[in-house]
Amino acid sequence: MAANPMSQFDVYRIGPEIKVGEFDISFTNASLFMIISTVSILLVFNLGSKRNSVLPNKMQLLAELSYTFVAKMISDTAGSKAKPYFAFIFSLFMFVLFCNMFGMIPYTFTVTSHIIVTFILASFIFIGVTIIGFIKHGFGYLKLFVPSGVPAVLLPLIVVIEIISYLSRPISLSVRLFANMMAGHTMMKVFGGFVISLGLVGGWLPLSFSVALTGLEILVAFLQAYVFAILTCIYLNDALNLHH
């Protein structure tokens, strides 16, 4: 994994090849960082919820601030009906956030920079939201594709557009996260490569760029996790409170 900025996204096997039937489920570096992320999430929030003092310590404050942050995000976008899905959205937000953030450490692997991971998450959300919508509203959920107040002439076109936009939700959700992470990490790698190739004379400009980009990427890492979670909330809101 030398100069190629894409080599940081390589998945390679750690340990022996594990096969279940035809499927290869070997332990890879991606699996390693998924486990690191989940274990750190569980550790942080377990430490943060262990003791209950009126004056919270740092860990407790962190856990409680995250809790209230996500709770407020859900109640703002999806209302009080979304309360049963709080744990899922919280886990989703934390998982994406921690995977993004662990990816910011040099020589680590970014789990969320792989389309297959984000696509599985997004399609799970898409399928889940669709099922919730049909359970709550029956076939009335299809009214989502028929916005009110649209002239009858335009209606067929609008319905088609709405259906396409609905079906493209998992793709847009997954590609947004994956592309952001991949582009940012590639750019950082490219600028890092410039620093080496330009040496002491010209390396300072890409180095300063690299520093700035690192800050930007940390922001993007948080922002994309937030966007992922808030879009999930918005889709959930469509399913729970049919507005059209």
């Binding site: 190629n4 699996s31 297959i116």
Partner: protein, 196 residues
């Protein structure tokens, strides 16, 4: 000059990297399906485990902690409010007690003063009475003495004058004649001697 070299080097480095990419030409590792199944499997495993642990054990605890803190703070505020009210009431009570005791002390003072004055007056009256009685008695005695004084004086005068005459003359003189003279004199000069 330096600037020119600098930008040129950046430009050439682009070319260099492009060549490097072209040489390796692996494309995006993300689109290589070799480990897709593995990633899906591990994603479901880790995310599922995390979701279950978070939703079953950790999140309820955090929400409990938050609720209990909220209620505890509310309780504390209520308790503080109550204590403040209590202390206010106590302060009022205390003020009242002080006021009451002050007025009581005043009345007690007045009463005792009046009583003492009364006592003094009564005693004074009794003493005045006694003094008056004594004075009256003394005056009566004086009066009696004054009334009886001339007779005694006359008697003494008669005795002395009879003794004097006896010594002067050598023989006894009739006392009745002397007493007659004394009486006569005392009647004449009585006013001069007794100042009445």
């Amino acid at each position: 000059m330096i600037k020119k070299i600098y930008f040129q080097s950046i430009f050439f480095s682009f070319l260099f990297f492009k060549e490097a990419f072209a040489a390796e030409s692996g494309g995006m590792p993300q689109l290589n399906p070799e480990f897709w199944i593995s990633q899906i499997f591990w994603l479901i495993l880790t995310f599922g485990t995390m979701y279950v642990v978070l939703s079953k054990f950790i999140l309820p605890k955090i929400s409990n902690n938050l609720e209990s803190r909220k209620s505890q703070i509310l309780e504390n505020i209520e308790a503080a409010e109550k204590q403040r009210e209590d202390s206010d009431a106590k302060l009022k009570e205390y003020d009242e007690v002080i006021l009451k005791s002050k007025s009581e002390a005043k009345t007690i003072f007045n009463q005792t003063r009046e009583k003492a004055l009364k006592d003094i007056m009564a005693k004074k009256e009794v003493l005045d009475q006694q003094i008056d009685d004594e004075i009256n008695k003394a005056e009566k005695e004086i009066e009696a003495l004054r009334v009886s004084a001339p007779d005694k004086i006359n008697k003494i005068a008669i005795e002395t004058s009879s003794e004097l005459l006896e010594k002067l003359i050598g023989s006894g003189v009739n006392s009745s004649s002397i007493s007659a003279i004394v009486d006569d004199l005392s009647k004449r000069n009585g006013d001069k001697y007794y100042g009445n």
